[in-house]
Amino acid sequence: MEEYVGQIWHKYITKAASLEFAEAKVELNDIRHTLAIQFRAFGGDLALELKDALNKDWEGKRSFLSKLASSQQKMELASVGINNLYLPKHIAIFPDKELNKKTYLWLSALLASYENSTGTNWLEDNVKSVNKTLSLFPGLRRTYRVLSQEHVKLRSKIKTLKQTEDELIIQRLLLSPDISEVSDLNLDSFNPKDIFPVPLWCDPFPAEATRIEKKLKDTQTESDIAKHEKAKKVDLRKKGEHVDDIDEKDGLMAFRLDSVFSWTEYIPVDRTADEENEDQAALAAEDIDQISVVRGSETTAGKLKFDLDLPGSDQDDITINEGIKLPEWDYRKSALQKDFCRLHTMQPRKVEKHEFSPKLREKAKRLKAQFEFLVMQKQWLKGQPDGSEIDLERFILRQADELNGQVKQDSNLYLELRQNSRSLSCLLLADLSLSTDSYVNNESKIIDMIKDSLYLFSESLSATQDRFAIGGFSSKRRDMVRYYPIKSFDEKQSKTTLDKISSLTPGYYTRMGAAIRHAANQLEKESTETKLLLLLSDGKPNDIDLYEGRYGIEDTKHAVREAFTKGIRVFCVTIDDEDNNYLPYIFGSANYIKIKRATELPEKLPKLYSLLTK
């Protein structure tokens, strides 16, 4: 029986692919941004990012998996998880392009109200969600009616799709989603694996959950020896990777670190204990070669390279203090965990004397001159003894006084445009995590761009009256957040500042929340009227413990909020050029900017500052 079902199912699948109407295909990439906005406007979770649905093997019988893997014909279905929502890379289920587009719209509305309420009864979950969506958005009723009718018509035309009782039920539910009919069904005899995929519904096996659960289970049952073998294998491959570790897309392979961690996002298990975390991260890394079958060519190399890169303690930078305790936000508990992190102020082991290139020094000089001019806000000063305009109000008052017979006459009758003295403190906080060690072009790395930026920024600001400080950060777990106080507010800009900047080296991870909290505490002590925290970064928050994915994003968002309540505005300048949703989620749409070309960062930063503080 099993075998038989499998065969039928296989035919369905292949047929499903041939069922596609290539000429009416709609690509997700063409409307991705629109759909993401719509998903949120339909009420979907703001924190989720829109990703391509993982190409699924449809959970069929094992024997068919291999065949499927070799064929390209797989069905992608929509689903929603903890970190992402997934939509098919393309939709071509109707011969009419407009209908395929409408299917995307429908799915984004459906996903927004989809609740995995029963957890087990996929049919009920789907029928319920369809009903909910249609009652919340009655304007979609007509759309849904057309989509479901057309789709059912097509289903009934597929030759290999036997019009079994189950299939007829599906068709009936598509046409009239009646929940009472679902509750009467015996689900045991109704297995989604036997059902021809329903592209208007959500995936009965949300990729985020099932895939990793299964993989974890598989891996955990392996013996220790087997694990060792695997580790060795990985090691070998890593060596192979070393040879061509600089490819044009990723730059340094260390950059892939982030991809490793984005994979760990999929592990749907409780990860509060640190020790456990690392193991699982490692598992996830191992899993990548399997996952990469599905998703391009990510490998575990990044993780391994990273581990090799950790400096021995005798070469590491110097810790100046015992550590400052800082809280961290756990979004799952909705609680601020007191004294959760320990931040250490660090100092480079050796500060090298270094000159920035003549070209850059020239730029610095030019910017400095501009800043003496530009940054200063101009204001019309009234009642001046001299000026470019007449102060009409003063003049009228004087006329009035004169008429009143007043003798002592006002001679300050001019308006003058002058610089306004303002009271502002700005702390520039730079991400020094290992990902900044990747190349942006043949000559320079991101870290070089960051150093150049710090240089130009500090030179420019030294020409103004604004108070400014510079800090850098990285982290390795919650008890080792590293903070480099490059220049404090009271320090004068000097050669030492510049030497410190050029001695910075990238390393470790990006525990953004803790760094922001520490910087905000510095700013809070300032007595100026306006306080600005400028964050310079190259990507998402992440660290090797649980600090990644949504956890890290939510903590950083919370840290930004905390700063705001202290009267500090946080603005993020990033060179992460992916179409990422986390930036507005963390900082707000008016509070971040993406610099497309990292090489433009150094010059853009001072200009941005003058714009921001105008």
Binding site: A41, A109, L140, R141, F564, S589, T613
Partner: protein, 269 residues
Amino acid sequence: MDAKTMIETSDIPMYVPQHNEVDVFQMAFENQLPLMLKGPTGCGKTRFVTHMAEKLGRPLYTVACHDDLTAADLVGRYLIEGGQTVWRDGPLTRAVREGGICYLDEVVEARKDTTVVIHPLSDDRRQLPIDRTGELLQAPDDFMLVISYNPGYQNLLKGLKPSTRQRFVSLTFDYPKSETEQSIISKETGVDDFTVRQLVDLSNALRRLKDHDLEESVSTRLIVYTATLIKAGMDPIQACRAALIEPLSDDEEVVKALMEVVVAKLDVE
């Protein structure tokens, strides 16, 4: 509705309370305390002040502050009329003389020199010095100063100084809860309940997009506009485009995306 509220609301501009703001206002007035209203634009602050002024039977002087507004604009100035100089009271001075309510809307926009007149009026001195005429006015008990302020991310250099902020009893406003807002819209415009509910639902969904896809939030005012257009016979979807979506964004792609959501919400057969 009982008889008492019937009488009260008869000729007073309609106001649906969000919390205890009516009590707070009344107590502040009775105890000669200045009041600060914080909240986004179009959430009912002005309506609230108008309502309270009527209710308390005091004249209201509203000043919309802008970046050219000086202390003289508030206090008054000499003008030349027919070869004569005449002193003209500004709105603040008039309110002080008459014992009325002076409402400075968006006070952070005003020039810094306005704090010179705001400060002595908003502490226990309750005085208004008029330099030009050499007068020193003592505010009567039924004078009240109300300011409003929109604490947004955007105002980097325009925050309210702590020394000003800490002189005021403060109320925080936000867009009303769904049911409250629905009752506001239906009382203001008389549009049918279903449409009102869909409009408020939609607006709340759009509000979540603030700081994310949109820089601004749908205000109660915009929903009132939309409902007004619908009541006047405009097609609901077109009304939403004109009064709800277009004012929120200049980005064509965003407008287009959101219009599809509007249709999903409102295009009922």
